[in-house]
């Protein structure tokens, strides 16, 4: 149990957010699963190229081939960066999210598209804090998945200490 406390304190919103996200998914709109306490950004999303051309939007969408680092000069005025997962097998978005967190971005990073329940543990670790899955997720499985691992082996973007730090802490 002691260890679950550690997970919760590093990332205190998990349990609550999953519990609160239980609005029944509508058939025609993908459910949004959020792990943030601020209000979601409902503004339009600009594709990266448009944003870089006349950068006024507060929300931008990255496709897998887009260079997330091109947003670094603009992070201060962005509230939401949505990372598209057209196919769950395409793992470029994991690097995108983690690089944005490494660059200090604290706004919302949303994984959208072919987002499956078995991926969201990894996605949380690299810095995603909201999910717009094309196919609604079963929230009980989400909860199970996110509570699964008591420890992690490596640093990522979620502030968790890897076991090597716990061993020698």
């Amino acid at each position: 149990m002691g260890n679950h406390d550690r997970v919760a304190s590093a990332d205190g919103q998990d349990q609550v957010a999953v519990g609160n996200a239980a609005a029944p998914p509508l058939d025609d709109t993908p459910a949004l699963l959020r792990f943030r306490s601020d209000a979601p950004d409902d503004g339009p999303l600009s594709p990266l190229a448009d944003f870089l051309a006349d950068g006024n939007a507060a929300a931008v969408r990255l496709d897998p081939a887009d260079d997330a680092r091109s947003l670094i000069p603009h992070l201060g005025r962005l509230r939401l960066i949505e990372v598209a997962f057209p196919k769950f097998r395409d793992g470029r978005g994991y690097s995108a999210a983690r690089m944005l967190r490494e660059a200090g971005f604290t706004g919302e990073i949303r994984a959208a598209g072919d987002v499956l329940v078995d991926q969201i543990g990894f996605m949380r670790r690299v810095g995603f804090d909201s999910f717009a899955p094309a196919k609604p997720l079963d929230l009980s499985v989400v909860k199970l998945t996110l509570e699964r691992y008591p420890y992690v082996y490596q640093k990522a973007a979620d502030g968790l200490q890897p076991v090597w730090a716990l061993r020698h802490g």
Binding site: F88, D90, S95, V163
Partner: protein, 546 residues
């Protein structure tokens, strides 16, 4: 060897529970086969011709007697009484039933084993030198570094959906027994001018349909930073590796398309950003792991002499036994290439024998080699005869290490859905010509024949002194012949010699090659490969097709 602590065990237990739950969702049809496939692949479970095939991880090829006994138990209880040791130092079972899979995973986890990341587009089991910790020529034991990589790569959140699989090998000698230049990352431990330990880093080697030898991206990365450096390589690959074509998705293609200079520049730029983030484990963690690979307590009084009066024993010693760094000790390789056998296969009973011998005579440790043999790494010379007798009684003492009958072979058409041709029977037919005459084999010297049943190259045919590749010729099984490959420190890729053959023809062709070599070598210590390199392909071609 490394033992799990509470953290390792808790992560493995959670992983097992997770996969059981995923299997349950698949069985209840809550996820599609397409969605389930990457999940089961990340747990080493393939769907093959006849059944599920399971690949169990043997981290850096080292296992204890207790673990070997469990592998025997698994073969007996869940399979057909045998297992198959692979070129990446793992073990495969060919006849697994999905319904029994949960129990099987539980059994494995009782002995700190699992099947994670033995397939799928993730960082695979880390491989290493089978003589690690015992070799007279090593700088330090490479396995602590492999263990650091094992932990770092396990459930890596950023690198679990790579463009393609990713294989890393670590060695600490000039002699390369792990084919590091044919891995996605090959790490060679070395010292810089100041005597500090670090790695030479090769990237972009691999076999498959586009065989490429790895290139050096860095001559020296200090050991304390090699994890963040690996992270940088993986990130560049994850971002820019090709995803449009599965055959071009390995890192070797990226390295080749960018060129080594540009690729290196990108890795260094990435590393400059990552290194300050404190991704490398602290020295205390290195020390903790290194301590677990501490040298065994040697018997300092162990005699350094051997009684070689039994000629069969003497033949085995001269072929299968290597020098150990500790006087009075030796390294013994157990051949899994017996007469008429299937290369790499071991029965449950044989695994039990080996587990017993490891416990009694070899510090309870066993290694798997990339040429599909096993090793007892720390045997007192005084015990070698007893070890040999027990191995011999179990058909495990064939004195053919690195000789013409020590063939690497993939499962081929007998098991594999991707195969164009059978490979096991070809290896058996070639071996049959030589296996009754060990003197002749020894006279021919080191000769590495490697057979793959299709272009994916699981049987390392590109790295064979003689490589054989199964192809489909208008619906018929056919075989190409390649010469001149090496997976060792003198790495080279084998080249096609000429038109292909049918099953009979390829066996005859190998015969002719060997006869030609025998007549053309300058002296008995010139290996087949050396003769080929000296003379070039033309006279060999003449000998086969002329």
């Amino acid at each position: 060897m490394y033992r799990y602590d509470q953290y390792d065990q808790a992560i493995v237990d959670a992983r097992v529970a997770e996969f059981k739950e995923q299997v349950g969702r698949r069985l209840r049809n809550e996820i599609t086969e397409d969605e389930f496939k990457p999940l089961r692949l990340m747990n080493g479970l393939y769907l093959q011709l006849h059944a599920y095939m399971l690949r169990v991880a043997v981290p850096y090829g080292t296992l204890s007697g207790v673990q070997m006994r469990m592998l025997a138990h698994i073969a007996r209880k869940y399979d057909r009484d045998y297992g198959h040791f692979t070129t990446r130092q793992n073990i495969q079972y060919n006849w697994i039933k999905l319904e029994q899979f949960s129990d099987l995973l539980d059994d494995l986890s009782k002995v700190e084993m699992h099947a994670f990341q033995t397939s799928g587009n993730c960082i695979r089991n880390i491989s290493s030198d089978q003589f690690a910790g015992a070799a007279a020529d090593e700088l330090a034991d490479p396995r602590p570094y492999a263990e650091l990589l094992r932990q770092w790569s396990t459930l890596h959140p950023e690198f679990s959906f790579l463009p393609r699989k990713f294989k890393i090998a670590v060695i600490a000698s000039e002699t390369d027994r792990a084919a590091i230049q044919l891995h996605d990352i090959g790490l060679q431990l070395r010292k810089d001018e100041s005597g500090a330990l670090g790695f030479r880093v090769y990237v972009g080697g691999g076999m498959g349909r586009t065989p490429i030898i790895g290139q050096v991206v860095r001559e020296f990365i200090p050991v304390g930073q090699f994890m963040s450096y690996s992270e940088a390589i993986l990130r560049v690959y994850n971002r820019y590796g090709r995803r449009d074509n599965i055959y071009k998705a390995r890192i070797k293609i990226l390295v080749n398309e960018l060129g080594i200079v540009e690729f290196t520049r990108q890795v260094e730029a990435e590393w400059a950003l990552l290194e300050p983030l404190g991704l490398d484990a602290p020295k205390a963690e290195y020390d903790r792991i290194i301590a677990q690979f501490a040298e065994p307590t040697y018997d300092l009084a162990a005699p350094d002499t051997l009684d070689l009066s039994d000629p069969d024993f003497a033949a085995w010693v001269s072929q299968n036994v290597h020098a150990h760094k500790q006087p009075g000790y030796a390294i013994a390789t157990i051949s899994l290439k017996p007469k008429a056998g299937i290369p790499g296969d071991a029965s449950s009973a044989q695994m039990d024998v080996i587990a017993d011998l490891a416990k009694k005579y070899a510090q309870d440790e066993i290694r798997v080699t990339h040429s599909q043999n096993l090793v007892l790494a720390h045997v007192r010379k005084a015990d070698l005869y007893a070890v040999w007798q027990a191995l011999d009684a179990a058909d495990l003492a064939t004195p053919n290490l690195d000789l013409v009958t020590d063939i690497i072979v993939c499962p081929g058409m007998d098991y594999c859905t991707l195969a164009n041709a059978r490979s096991i029977p070809i290896a058996q037919k070639i071996a049959a010509k030589f296996e009754n005459d060990i003197e002749q084999q020894r006279d021919l010297g080191e000769l590495k024949i490697k057979v793959s049943g299709c272009i994916n190259g699981c049987g390392h045919h590109h790295a064979g002194h003689i490589g054989i590749l199964g192809v489909d010729k208008k619906g018929e099984e056919a075989y190409q012949l390649l010469l001149g490959g090496s997976g060792a420190e003198d790495a080279s890729l084998a080249k096609i010699l000429g038109p292909g053959f049918d099953a009979e023809g390829i066996v005859g062709a190998v015969d002719k090659l060997i006869a030609f070599y025998r007549s053309a070598r300058t002296n008995p210590s010139e290996r087949f490969l050396d003769t080929y390199r000296r003379l070039g392909a033309a006279p060999f071609k003449e000998a086969v097709y002329g």
